[in-house]
């Protein structure tokens, strides 16, 4: 369904601009200098280990909490006007409850009315949203009877009742089976593309974020450790390590053969994983693509079976693990 507001906020315009947001809880810095920009129609993955400051950031950006320093705007509206910002954002919190006595359509109508719509308008929009999120057949069912996946869908529908400019989705796929995760992420992508809304997606499913998000912000201990386009962020990390898996009995032979290659600096067994070798290359060697071929060729000539071969640092997960290695301070 094409939203009416795509066009009000032009494609690619800044819908959320955060600058230097900070928050402390007593002596602990929960957030330090969070700055980023979200453009309309784009999806931004918001990542970080537990305790990195994601929830604090989301609560600040959704006006539930005030920042101690810094400022942000949503659709050009300053955070000093939280009621106006709330009219322009939609939020699916990580854990949200549903009333026991309401049907799906009553639930959406209620929230539509809280955004200032008449009951009939709110109901009509609710029905369209339920269709959009795939709950058309369950409009008259009590929300308490919904499955987990359906609850997430009605939560997303609720986040869209005001046709928001920015949608915050905090762990929308948590607890869903792989098919449910895929379907929900498809729905989220549709929100960004069809509605032209900027979407902030908090998730621990890094492979999913990598596949659906355009941009990414990685937080660690309350600080931004990486931000930008997903491909850019992945490209910034060290990629001079290759992980190779061989049969356990052939590990010593493989190690000896690989260490004989000039561009290989060190070969060590990958900790705790039998059969895996971690091959560290000389600086700049990873840019020389034939090195991969030479490694493979060496092993094949030595008649060592190759079970797996993968460059490290080429995925968002590697970047995430590398940048957030400090853990929670």
């Amino acid at each position: 369904m094409q939203s009416d507001h795509a066009g009000h906020t032009g494609a690619g315009t800044d819908v959320l601009v955060a600058e230097g947001l900070a928050k402390t809880y007593g002596p602990r810095h929960a957030l330090r200098g969070l700055s980023f920009t979200l453009k309309s129609g784009r999806m931004l993955g918001f990542l970080g280990p537990n305790g990195a400051g994601k929830t604090t950031s989301i609560r600040i950006l959704t006006t539930i909490m005030e920042p101690d320093a810094g400022h942000f705007t949503v659709d050009g509206i300053s955070h000093k006007h939280p009621d106006q910002i709330r009219r322009r954002i939609g939020v699916l919190p990580e854990s949200f409850g549903l009333p026991k006595q309401m049907t799906g359509i009553e639930y959406l109508t209620y929230f539509g009315q809280l955004y200032g719509r008449t009951a009939s308008d709110a109901k009509a929009i609710g029905l369209r949203l339920m269709e959009e999120v795939g709950l058309k057949q369950r409009t008259r069912s009590l929300v308490s009877t919904y499955s987990h996946g359906m609850r997430q869908r009605i939560g997303i529908a609720r986040a869209l009742v005001n046709d928001p400019v920015v949608v915050f989705l905090d762990e929308p796929t948590i607890g869903l089976d792989p098919r449910g995760q895929q379907e929900l992420l498809g729905l989220v992508q549709q929100i960004a593309s069809d509605r032209g809304a900027g979407v902030i997606l908090c998730s621990h499913l890094l492979s999913e974020v990598e596949s659906v998000c355009d941009d990414v912000v990685i937080l660690s201990s309350g600080e931004v450790v990486a931000s930008g386009a997903v491909s850019e962020v992945i490209g910034r990390t060290e990629q001079n390590v290759i992980r190779i898996r061989v049969p356990t009995a052939a590990m010593e032979d493989a190690q000896r053969e690989l260490e004989a290659i000039p561009a290989v600096r060190k070969v060590v067994p990958a900790g705790g994983q039998p059969g895996w070798l971690r091959v560290e290359l000389d600086e700049g060697a990873s840019e020389d693509h034939p090195i991969n071929n030479r490694i493979l060729e060496t092993l094949i000539r030595a008649d060592i079976p190759i079970v797996s071969f993968e460059p490290e640092g080429g995925r968002l997960q590697d970047v995430f693990l590398q940048l957030t290695a400090g853990g929670i301070k």
Partner: protein
């Protein structure tokens, strides 16, 4: 119809949001069964009281007027307890059920949310009163005290019900856990009600100086003042001008509680409870 008609403004024909919140709360309370089950419990409790009082009266252990006074007081004080408990669940309960965040994320003002919930929390009182009055009529057996009971009972209860619903909500705004909210509210209830019962005894057993002090204490305690008012009106058939001073505290109590709730605490309502957060935030 445009979905995005104008994000900045509500439709002029839309219902006020306090009413939308109130309607939903009423539905939760009455269709969800919480208020209904409390009123059912209230009815059973009143039935037990009525049976005990009637038995005592039949055995000449309790004068008729005293019996009317006791059943009126029981009906009011238990009715207030129902309002208090429903008020105490209003925010801490939503926090526990994780439904408060959704509400706070809408552009509805915190004050309108508080007003809507307050009106819903008050709703058990008229029902409790409607349940209680037939008991009063039957137990009074046509005695002249019934007129006084029907005049002062509903007045006192209607003054105090908003105060107790509001008091429960004040506690609930500050508490993250529903259990804490309930315990604190019950504690406050006991703090208010127990001295009022004790003071009543003191006036007849101690010196006049002590009785005077007790009167002052009773006057300051809304429950004590209410007890005394009902006692003088029902037992002594005191005229209005004599019992009027005892109305002052029950009339001021709701004004103070609601002023604090709606003017100060309500607008500072947050996702998390606690005094510190309340002081530091004004979004």
């Amino acid at each position: 119809m445009s979905i995005a008609a104008d994000r900045g403004a509500a439709s002029p024909s839309a219902a006020p949001t306090w009413w939308i919140v109130c309607a939903r709360e009423l539905r939760d309370l009455w269709v969800g069964g919480k208020a209904m089950s409390m009123i059912l419990l209230y009815t059973v409790l009143l039935g037990i009281y009525a049976y005990l009082f009637a038995s005592n009266s039949e055995l000449s252990l309790l004068p008729l007027k005293q019996m009317v006074l006791e059943i009126v007081k029981a009906a009011i004080f238990v009715g207030l307890f129902v309002c208090l408990i429903i008020g105490a669940d209003s925010f801490s309960g939503e926090r526990e059920r994780a439904t408060l965040e959704g509400l706070l994320l809408t552009p509805t003002s915190r004050r309108q949310i508080v007003v809507g919930k307050f009106l819903a929390a008050l709703s058990p009182w008229p029902v409790a009163l409607a349940v209680a009055i037939p008991y009063w009529v039957v137990l009074s057996k046509g005695d002249s005290s019934l007129g006084q009971a029907l005049l002062w009972g509903p007045l006192v209860g209607t003054l105090l019900a908003p105060a107790f619903a509001g008091l429960g909500m004040l506690v609930s705004v500050w508490c993250n856990s529903n259990k804490t909210s309930m315990l604190v509210s019950v504690g406050l209830y006991l703090v208010l009600i127990l001295p009022s019962q004790y003071s009543g005894l003191a006036t007849v057993t101690v010196s006049s100086q002590m009785a005077e002090r007790s009167n002052v204490f009773q006057l300051l305690n809304p429950m004590g003042a209410s007890s005394r008012l009902l006692h003088d009106a029902i037992m002594g058939s005191a005229p209005v001008h004599q019992v009027w001073p005892w109305v002052t505290t029950p009339a001021l109590f709701p004004v103070v509680v609601l002023a604090v709730l709606i003017a100060y605490v309500g607008p500072a309502l947050q996702l998390e409870g606690g005094m510190k957060r309340m002081r530091t935030r004004t979004v």
